[in-house]
């Protein structure tokens, strides 16, 4: 009895031709996907490694804290770092509150109203527009019409506009993820809508909203086109003292010394160093933001 049962069992385990074929297809598909995964990661590692290898040599305290010298073929990139930080902070001060408020309006106040659909269409379109168009728009409106001139504020506003869709989107998604039972629980205790939003909904959506901030910062610190006509200078001997001053910025500085410097060959190492610093800044901001996010979400659990 036992014996025959076992036989039956092992008979079933022997794969038919059809089974063999599906198994093969599965293996092929699996390895293709795995290979593609490796390729993608490989390319990323290669790019980063290339920049790290070439840029690490010029990294030094002086490189980070000195201004460029000798026609930008030596010296540091301090003014560009400061400029990029100014633009990042400025654009976030503008885009973050505005985007979060828009997201709140869209998800908490007028769920499927036509205004919301309109805003959604417009923001989607906005995020598809090439960044150089934002640059030109910023120049027309902030630099010329409003008379800010090439300045931190004009550049920040332009960059802010560029990332507004990201902030709105992620805020909306973050708020959607908050269970309705929090809303009804809060309202049932006699809380007003505004109290509910500020005391329950935003705190619990905050970790996800921060993700939007991370994405926005990453985007802003690397963009060149929007600041080209609105904020940056080729070379500045001194740091900005007000938001109406021009600045240098890392991505533009990189572009300049890589393509149109006084001596491109001589400034090559500096270009790699600049790229490395740019990557490190973006990375550091991401780490900081995800650290904040982890802490907040741990507190809530």
């Amino acid at each position: 009895m036992e014996q025959s049962k076992e036989n039956e069992f092992s008979l079933q385990l022997k794969a038919s031709g059809y089974r063999l074929r599906t198994r093969m297809t599965q293996q092929v598909a699996f390895w293709t996907i795995r290979l593609l995964g490796f390729v993608v990661v490989g390319i990323l590692v290669w790019i980063q490694g290339f920049i790290i290898v070439n840029g690490a040599g010029v990294l030094s305290w002086d490189f980070l804290t000195q201004a460029p010298t000798e026609g930008m073929t030596s010296g540091g990139i301090f003014p560009a770092i400061v400029g990029t930080l100014c633009l990042v902070v400025g654009s976030m001060v503008f885009a973050f509150p505005l985007g979060v408020m828009a997201g709140i309006y869209m998800n908490e106040y007028t769920k499927d109203h036509w205004t919301v659909r309109l805003i959604r269409v417009v923001t989607n379109n906005l995020s598809g527009i090439p960044s150089i168009v934002f640059g030109l728009f910023g120049m027309a409106l902030f630099v010329n019409t409003l008379g800010f001139g090439d300045s931190i504020i004009a550049g920040s506003l332009t960059l802010g506009l560029l990332v507004l869709p990201i902030v709105i989107r992620t805020t909306e998604e973050a708020l959607k993820a908050v269970p309705d039972s929090y809303r009804s629980g809060s309202v049932a205790l006699g809380a007003s809508k505004l109290q509910t939003i500020f005391r329950v909904i935003l705190p619990s959506a905050f970790p996800n909203i921060i993700t939007g901030l991370i994405l926005a910062i990453g985007r802003v610190s690397g963009e060149t086109a929007p600041i080209l006509f609105t904020a940056v200078a080729y070379f500045l001997p001194k740091l900005p003292t007000s938001i109406f001053d021009q600045v240098m910025a890392l991505p533009y500085h990189l572009y300049v010394i890589a393509t149109s410097g006084t001596d491109i060959e001589a400034s090559r190492p500096i270009a790699y160093g600049t790229a490395l610093v740019l990557i490190i800044i973006v990375l550091a901001m991401n780490l900081l933001a995800s650290f904040i996010r982890k802490r907040v979400s741990r507190k809530q659990r």
Binding site: S184, A188, G190, A191, V200
Partner: protein
Amino acid sequence: MIEAKNVNFYYGDFHALKNINMKMERNTVTAFIGPSGCGKSTFLRLFNRMNDLIEGTRLTGECLIDGQNIYDKSVSVVELRKQVGMVFQKPNPFPKSIFENVAYGLRVNGMKNKKEIEEIVERSLRQAALWDEVKDKLKKSAFDLSGGQQQRLCIARALAVSPTVLLMDEPASALDPISTSKIEDLIYALKKEYTIVIVTHNMQQASRVSDNTGFFMLGELVEFSETKKMFLNPDKEQTQNYITGRFG
């Protein structure tokens, strides 16, 4: 005293409550029973105006609490909801500490005095028979509690704002028998100070905790009478069938 007069309620075109009349006395427990989808929750939510949050709904008739129409323009919904607390079917604590969950209602109502808040939080947790289990971990997240504890926390949270009426929508449906009996004891104890309305699918529970019972079917209030009478000798055959489980 809570009173419904000729209440009709619509979700869009759907007629969810049909001409309902009911009176609930102060300091009594009223249970709503009936098959799923008959409108018990809808009717319950009328009394703290939670249905206002749902779009496309319409109400005719009057809902009165102590003689005042709570749908009158002069009534503040926020004030009403302070008076009429609610416990939901699924425990829904906020992602905050145990203490902050109970203090929430006080804070949104503008209470600032730390000492006073602490006192009320403790009193409410005691009332909800949860104090001894959480007194050493008030700062811990409410999500660390078990489902039954979370539900009692939600009851404490509702009690903290000193309501006069407590609406409970199947408060024990997600709980084990021990937590359930704790909550039933609680309802019994709270009756002295509060007017309680509870929705339940559990016949024994209805007969154990309530003074009066309303039986709903397809949006109509089929029968409303003293619980004892309802379970021993109901007027309507439908009620009899439902209670004894011979419901088709």
